[in-house]
Amino acid sequence: MSAQAWKVFNKAKKKIGNASLSLAATVFRISLFTSASNFATLTLSTYASLTNEVSEANGYSSSGKALANEAWTVGASAKQYKFDADDPFWSANGGSISNIKGAVIWISAASANGRHVLCTASLTSTQFALAAGNRLTIQMATTGILTLV
């Protein structure tokens, strides 16, 4: 299982530019998706446009999980700044968390139109199910989730 780097959704770049998506926010969430999902389609705009999220069961909530401690700190060099957060994890309880393939980070909002998707990553080449009693941790790189260079 090797994950691919986070990719920023096309429209997220525009939204960052016009400040409709604030990377200073601390209400980001991360959700998991199956191989049948469109999570890798970079033209998506909002969370509502994503399909085939991992089914809510056994320790996975369909709205994903809140990221914690989002922060901007200096990156690999003094010229770079990185957006980072704590590593989220899910524990499979009472059964498997099934069909895990990719992840999307999005911003939480009261309105569906405000739930902008930020970035996406394929977590594995082979879709998998996490058996009960085990934990899946999405490990953010020490260099961050995203870097501004």
């Binding site: 960052i16 879709q127 260079v149």
Partner: protein, 131 residues
């Protein structure tokens, strides 16, 4: 993977050879992995004159071989010995065929998983990171 390519004459003599290192590229539509020569070319040093009509591909890691007939015979005069010839491949060095299976059920992992997701980038020209 290492392949030894031999340029062979119509009377089965070795006219030149080259060592090629190739890695497989997935061809999902064709359900196969293809080993291609870098830039789809192989450079030979001509060791003997003759009429080259075929090439052999020897996958040395597994000691398996195959023969590829050249589209057109190549006549190499004696004065070309020691010079370089370039062979342009119209096919992969080797193909490993699979089967098209539409349904691949997920595997179940029975241990804790920690998946490192590499850093993403905002604001870099591809291949030219700033900073």
């Amino acid at each position: 993977m290492k392949f030894v390519i031999r340029l062979m004459s119509d009377d089965d003599r070795l006219m030149g050879w080259a060592e090629v290192h190739a890695s497989a590229q997935s061809n999902t539509e064709m359900s196969r992995a293809e080993f291609r020569a870098p830039n789809d070319q192989t450079r030979f040093r001509i060791d003997a004159p003759g009429t080259a009509t075929y090439i052999t591909v020897h996958w040395t890691d597994f000691d398996v071989r195959r023969k590829a007939n050249m589209v057109a015979a190549l006549v190499v005069p004696p004065e070309a010995v020691g010079k370089e010839a370039i062979y342009a491949w119209i096919e992969p060095l080797w193909c490993v065929n699979g089967q098209k299976i539409d349904v691949l059920p997920p595997v179940t992992v029975g241990s804790n998983q920690s998946i490192l997701v590499p850093l993403g980038v905002i604001g870099a020209v591809p291949g030219q990171p700033g900073g």
